[in-house]
């Protein structure tokens, strides 16, 4: 049994800042759990609390069935990979990997054997006698992984371990980390702000916002049935189009800006609670891939802003005469936020995105009808932001 269980865990700093609010979370044995959220949402704090580097104000953390609230980090039998790897600069790769074993006073032969084994798995054998300063980013990352697996710990904790690598290496290391985790079969808590990383790596993904757990589920479930507007906008890239809309009093139409969309009956069968919103304003969410250019049916006409040709598809940015719903604190890295700001400033009302087939005949400035799959649209309560089902 090596699962990680958090029960009603909170963190309030001395200055009164409430960083983590009553979080319940369970990472099953062998599971790869990713915690994702915007910068400052408390995800690293949560991880550090599990590691014992940060005290908890309330609640209970247990690892492998044992409550660890009062144990030191060393006693918790965890391995942690840091964002900057935190390799000991003065030790060789071999000593870095074997340090924890030396502290546990394991026989020298045993340490040598385990270090060699880890190095073999991570293709580090030829670098064992080198110091971290002479290694590349990817190699340092591997040493950090080696340091973690050599201990055969009860759980792995990883704090944005790929964010210091370039894009290509990041993709490669993603699969390497997953392979190693599968091989070792240890419960893993992985923190990242990159939702693509979260979606591709996690058996399950936990979305955190301002210290509050928003939703914890498989990546597909998060994508298909986001519990609230924050999760809906955070998960998926490009993110979901969110628009203010009004459901007609008879439930046959949805008014988006000046345009009307017909509402099929099946929608109310899928989402019985939607009936309570007849004649009321709500937020409608449409994924970019649910806006197509081919065929006929329900359409929203928009003016095309700019087009990103990705080869496999076109990302068409377009403006509507409807108001966009903006999720505060959507976050991402500072860089992303800046980019987003620049983008919105440049394009003004061009805030909607459609993902269309390549070689579609679409030109900037065109008025284009986008076909909407209403069955796949999402609806959210305006006040609470919760999904309507």
């Amino acid at each position: 049994m090596s699962e990680i269980v958090l029960r009603d865990v909170s963190k309030i700093y001395d200055n009164g800042y409430h960083a983590i609010h009553n979080i319940d979370l369970e990472v099953k044995e062998g599971e790869f759990m990713v915690v994702v959220g915007p910068s400052g949402c408390g995800k690293s704090t949560l991880l550090r609390m599990v590691a014992g580097l940060e005290t908890i104000s309330d609640g209970e953390i247990s690892i492998g069935g044992e409550v660890v609230n009062d144990l030191t980090p060393g006693e918790r039998d965890l391995a942690m990979v840091f964002q900057n790897y935190a390799l000991y600069p003065h030790m060789t790769v071999e000593k870095n990997i074997g340090y924890s074993l030396r502290l546990r006073k394991l026989p020298k032969e045993e340490i040598k054997r385990r270090v060699a084994e880890a190095a073999e798995i991570l293709s580090l054998t030829e670098y064992l006698s080198q110091r971290p300063g002479r290694l590349s980013g990817g190699q340092r990352q591997r040493v950090a992984m080696g340091r973690a697996i050599v201990r055969e710990p009860k759980a792995f904790l990883m704090d944005e371990p790929l964010s210091n690598l370039d894009a290509k290496l990041r993709v490669q290391m993603r699969s390497e980390i997953l392979q190693i985790q599968r091989r070792v079969g240890v419960a893993t808590l992985y923190v990242t702000h990159d939702q693509v990383e979260a979606m591709t790596m996690g058996d399950r993904v936990t979305v955190l916002r301002a210290g509050v757990l928003q939703q914890c589920d498989t990546a597909q479930a998060l994508y298909d049935r986001p519990r609230n507007v924050f999760v809906a906008s955070f998960v998926g890239s490009p993110s979901m189009n969110l628009l203010y809309a009004e459901l007609g009093p008879d439930g046959t139409s949805l008014r988006v800006g000046s345009q009307n969309l017909e509402v099929p009956d099946t929608l109310f069968a899928q989402r019985p609670n939607l009936r309570a919103y007849l004649g009321r304003e709500l937020v409608v969410g449409i994924r970019p891939e649910d806006l197509t250019m081919a065929g006929d049916g329900q359409t929203l006409v928009g003016r095309v802003g700019h087009i990103e040709a990705l080869g496999s598809e076109l990302i068409v940015h377009f403006g509507l005469d409807a108001r966009n719903y903006v999720v505060e604190d959507k976050g991402g890295s500072a860089e992303e936020a800046e980019e987003l700001l620049e983008e919105t400033a440049l394009t003004q009302h061009v805030r909607n995105v459609a993902r269309v087939a390549p070689r579609s005949s679409v030109v900037t400035g065109d008025q284009v009808p986008f076909r909407v799959s209403m069955e796949r649209a999402h609806f959210f309560d305006l006040a609470s932001g919760n999904a309507i089902w």
């Binding site: 580097l53 980090p73 942690m80 790897y85 935190a86 000991y88 590349s136 210091n164």
Partner: protein
């Protein structure tokens, strides 16, 4: 920076060679002048110590002597050879070395621990303490010399008393503090997770990565204590506990007509250990903290 215009056909390596040749001569000239200004007294001291007393003060000609002699060193060793009245050269060296050893080693232990605690541990009054230490840095020793004299007068004429006030140094604490502040805290966190306690973390992880700070503190405190004059002058009156700096002063007092050749020789004897100490530790002293970065 000015660039050299080259014909378009010139190859890249050649361009690089040309550019490298374009050196800022003005800056070099200025640096050369300053180097001469700073180095000349040392050169004069060394050369003067090998000249006859008459030559030593022979103006600029003393700098380019025609005749060198060991006479000054010889007579110094004669004067200060195992004498209980005037003290011996070996004795002065022993005292100076002992005092410096206590200050340097004790200071590295005490001040590094204090700096580490201030940089890393959370405790009540930490900020006030830090402020107090910064204030202490600017208080000159002379200001507290008299109160210290009365506090420690019971220990007069001992080796320990010459070292005691200098072991704890606000400046060294502050130097260590700023160094530890810049060391990535993840190193210690990784060590904690690996199962190391605070002492082991300090000794096995922090200390080996703090060589530049330790070297800086060692050099600075050694230079300060090796050449300190006021405090040993106040606290010693017996030749057997005189450090070198006091002995050289006494030499001047003993001579009816000052023998500058001998004084130069004594000066060299005083400076050589300092230079040697610096040479041993300078590679860490100069090595920048940045080279320790663990980021990828």
């Amino acid at each position: 920076m000015s660039t050299v215009s080259l014909p378009a056909s010139s190859s890249a390596p050649r361009r690089r060679r040309r550019r490298r040749r374009h050196v800022p001569w003005g800056v070099y000239a200025l640096l050369a002048i300053f180097s001469v200004l700073f180095l000349f007294p040392i050169y004069y001291l060394v050369v003067g110590s090998f000249e006859t007393p008459a030559d030593t003060l022979n103006g600029l000609r003393a700098a380019a002597p025609s005749h060198l002699t060991f006479a000054n060193y010889h007579s110094l060793s004669q004067q200060f050879f195992s004498s209980t009245i005037t003290g011996s050269l070996q004795g002065f060296y022993t005292v100076s070395t002992l005092v410096s050893l206590i200050v340097v080693v004790g200071g590295m232990i005490v001040n590094s621990l204090a700096g580490y605690a201030l940089a890393r541990m959370k405790f009540r009054g930490r900020k006030t303490l830090l402020l107090l230490i910064i204030v202490l840095v600017i208080i000159p020793f002379q200001a507290i010399a008299v109160p210290l004299y009365y506090m420690l007068s019971g220990l007069r004429n001992t080796v320990v008393v010459q070292a005691l006030p200098f072991i704890g140094s606000a400046f060294s604490v502050y130097l260590f503090y700023t160094f530890f502040l810049n060391l990535p805290p993840q190193l210690e966190e990784a060590a904690r997770i690996d199962g190391a306690g605070p002492w082991r973390t300090f000794l096995q992880i922090i200390l080996p990565n703090a060589k530049p700070a330790f070297a800086s503190v060692a050099i600075l405190s050694f230079i300060q204590i090796w050449s300190s004059y006021l405090w040993p002058l106040m606290m010693t009156s017996q030749p057997n506990v005189y450090p070198l700096s006091i002995a050289i002063g006494n030499l001047l007092k003993q001579q009816s007509t000052p023998n500058y050749g001998e004084m130069f020789a004594f000066g060299v004897l005083l400076v050589v250990p300092m230079a040697a100490f610096f040479l041993v530790f300078q590679r860490w002293f100069i090595r920048s903290v940045a080279s320790l970065a663990v980021k990828g």
